[in-house]
């Protein structure tokens, strides 16, 4: 955010695009959001729900680029507040609204949305069938769910899975096939499942390298302990992806 602030225009007004380099927490930046939106068929008139919306970056990108209205639902209070503030700062509050809510108990009417999106969010939710059922409930019949998430390969050891749970709150990780089955059981049709590990690998590698290159700055701001901890955790995660034990999947299905 500090970096974004230095980019303020002479008028002092920040635009949504000024934040895109900083507010896309998922892997792959705005390009990944664009691909997901195409899989979901997001159009100008689409009513979009972003589940686990984080800082609201993807929601603002879609609202700014496609002109649609996006509701972002986020569990974490600090993230929801930051999402709302950034959205106000870039003048998109009429198109992007933030609600604090739980993906397992969405506070929306049935059939309220045409599109439901989520990026690297479901990995933190243990009861994936319940989360998918909620997404289906709030979608119009014929509406589309599209999301990306971590996937586990058979080679991921139980101990590694347990470490991911303790360190990164990653739980009940699915394989490409088990996710496909869960989507079918939740009532989604025309299910698409793509392994995108090859897309994530360079992105994650670059993120880890950027963290390591910026160590001095990170230590100055957050302390050596935090820098080391992050290095250990994120390095472990990226190592699993490099080793072909963990990866990413892009999924979509029709309600």
């Amino acid at each position: 955010m500090r970096a974004a602030a230095t980019r303020r225009r002479p008028a002092g007004r920040l635009a949504a695009a000024d934040l895109f380099e900083f507010d896309q927490d998922h892997y792959g930046g705005i390009e990944a959001v664009d691909v997901l939106a195409r899989h979901a068929g997001v159009r100008r008139r689409s009513r979009v729900l972003d589940v686990c919306a984080g800082l609201g970056g993807p929601a603002r990108f879609l609202a700014a680029g496609r002109g649609c209205r996006v509701v972002g639902v986020e569990l974490h209070g600090g993230r929801a507040a930051a999402a709302a503030r950034l959205t106000r700062d870039v003048g998109l509050a009429a198109q992007v609204v933030v609600v604090r809510g739980d993906a397992l108990a969405l506070p929306f009417r049935a059939h309220a949305f045409d599109v439901c999106l989520s990026q690297e969010g479901l990995l933190h939710i243990a009861d994936k069938p319940a989360a998918l059922a909620e997404c289906r409930r709030v979608l119009m019949p014929g509406g589309r769910l599209a999301f990306t998430d971590w996937i586990a390969y058979a080679r991921l050891a139980d101990g590694e899975h347990e470490q991911l749970r303790r360190w990164m709150a990653a739980t009940t990780l699915q394989s490409l096939d088990s996710y496909r089955a869960l989507l079918g059981r939740a009532g989604f049709g025309s299910v698409d499942a793509h392994d995108i590990t090859h897309e994530w690998r360079p992105v994650l590698r670059a993120r880890l390298e950027r963290h390591r290159a910026g160590r001095a700055d990170i230590v100055a701001r957050f302390g050596a302990q935090w820098a080391d901890e992050y290095d250990r955790l994120f390095g472990f995660f990226v190592g699993l992806v490099e080793a072909g034990k963990l990866g990413g999947g892009r999924f979509s299905g029709t309600a």
């Binding site: 509701v71 209070g77 009429a94 933030v98 506070p107």
Partner: protein, 55 residues
């Protein structure tokens, strides 16, 4: 604070029933819960709702 389009689709996360909107909170008369609105953000979390003893 909460726009009409959002009001039209918000329901109680617990019972999915209709809500009553006030300035600082959102009431579910069926569950007798009050969901707070903090800095303009509706907090629609069941375990953050206060009990509501309404009329």
């Amino acid at each position: 604070m909460i726009d009409d389009e959002l009001k039209a689709i918000l329901v109680c996360p617990a019972c999915k029933g209709d809500l009553r909107f006030e300035e600082q909170r959102i009431i579910c008369p069926a569950c007798r819960k009050a969901y707070p609105i903090r800095d303009g953000i509706p907090v629609m979390l069941i375990n953050e709702a206060e009990s509501w003893i309404g009329p």
